[in-house]
Subunit: 193 residues, 2 copies
DNA sequence: CACGCTATCAACGCTGTGTCGACTGAACCA
DNA sequence: TGGTTCAGTCGACACAGCGTTGATAGCGTG
């Protein structure tokens, strides 16, 4: 087994385990064992557990961006399609719920994860803010809330609502309705009154 | 110094430290030291760090409920006052931001904190859901989103937006505007279109 | 064939947690 | 007054998990 295979094995083991338990219920020994190596050898491939999660998160974010590029609401569109964009988020994060949930927890303790998540969030927030501003510009959406602030709270809402739904932390909204509920709330918050 | 004094000293030390650093940057040794006792003696008073946080959180929730009772929107009110209710949340949690931030982190690992937070959230969600339902009933708010689901996403949004604001985790909205922004978003989400 | 590079791990030291057993002193009887 | 109880205290231990060091083994390549 080559080095690349080992690295892949660690990542695969981590994602599989994260589907079952928290990151800090997983020891480096567990990961190493699942990849067929000893703990010190783990450090040859990754500097820490967080570094593994960081790489998993990086993939997930790349997938969101890739699948999102096709459907992300356009500033120039007459009536931007938020529903599809939100659906991409819901679907991709649901497919990787272990990584998603672990990220939400780990970003509070790991600066690296914090930063990666932060940068991605900012990109999404900025883009949505532009779309909202354009809608206000053309009179389709009312002014009254700063587009960037509104975009921030809506994106933050999505993040936490999805995390709660995935972990079934009451109160939460059902998985199969979460996309529709979020979208309806966005539409009202952006276009309402 | 009596036993009760020691217990109070531990709680006070914990809240003071939480204003500066994370719960898991605080060791039991730190808490014991600050309260003038040794680590084993700490266990005479609390079963764990989480138990200390649990008690601090309990107080904060009690304060929210006490100060909230006066202003919580009434189902029978002609036009419920969400602004004041949200302000109570913002103010009380801001006064105890250390405890608030630690709670958001610890509930992912501590079942006891999870449960206390969960139960309180559910109470707030249920109450707001009733108010929304009443508003829909009397025709002041449009139907289209289930009141309980809407209440869930709005309360979840508040929780996360406040946490992000307190930790200054970008993207976040400024502290002095967060109440107004949340309230404006609630109003649109409940009454909009 | 020797040099360097990848890959590996036994063994170590460290930090933090939680427990056990023994000790102290004050209050409360008998 | 002298024993008993009990809240309060801590030294010392065992343990889990992290991260590092240093030594080793194999493989390719000039």
């Amino acid at each position: 087994m080559s080095g690349d295979d080992r690295e892949r094995a660690i990542l695969a083991a981590a994602e599989a385990m994260l589907a079952q338990r928290t990151l800090d219920e997983i020891s480096i020994d567990d990961l190493a064992g699942a990849a067929g190596i000893s703990r010190p050898t783990f450090y040859f491939y990754f500097a820490s557990k967080d570094a593994v999660l960081l790489q998993l998160l990086d993939r997930v974010i790349a997938e969101v961006d890739r699948r999102g590029a096709a459907v992300i609401p356009d500033t120039s569109a007459a009536s931007p399609d938020f529903a599809n964009a939100i659906n991409v988020f819901v679907e991709v994060f649901a497919e990787h719920r272990g990584v998603t949930v672990a990220t939400v927890a780990a970003r509070l303790s790991s600066p690296a994860i914090q930063e990666l998540w932060s940068i991605s969030m900012q990109r999404w927030v900025d883009h949505v803010a532009e779309v909202i501003a354009a809608e206000q510009e053309r009179g389709a959406a009312p002014r009254g809330i700063d587009p960037h602030h509104l975009s921030t709270v809506l994106n933050t809402m999505n993040e936490q609502v999805l995390s709660a739904t995935f972990t079934r932390t009451v109160p939460f909204v059902p998985t199969d309705e979460v996309g529709a509920i979020l979208h309806a709330t966005w539409r009202r918050a952006i276009y309402g009154r």
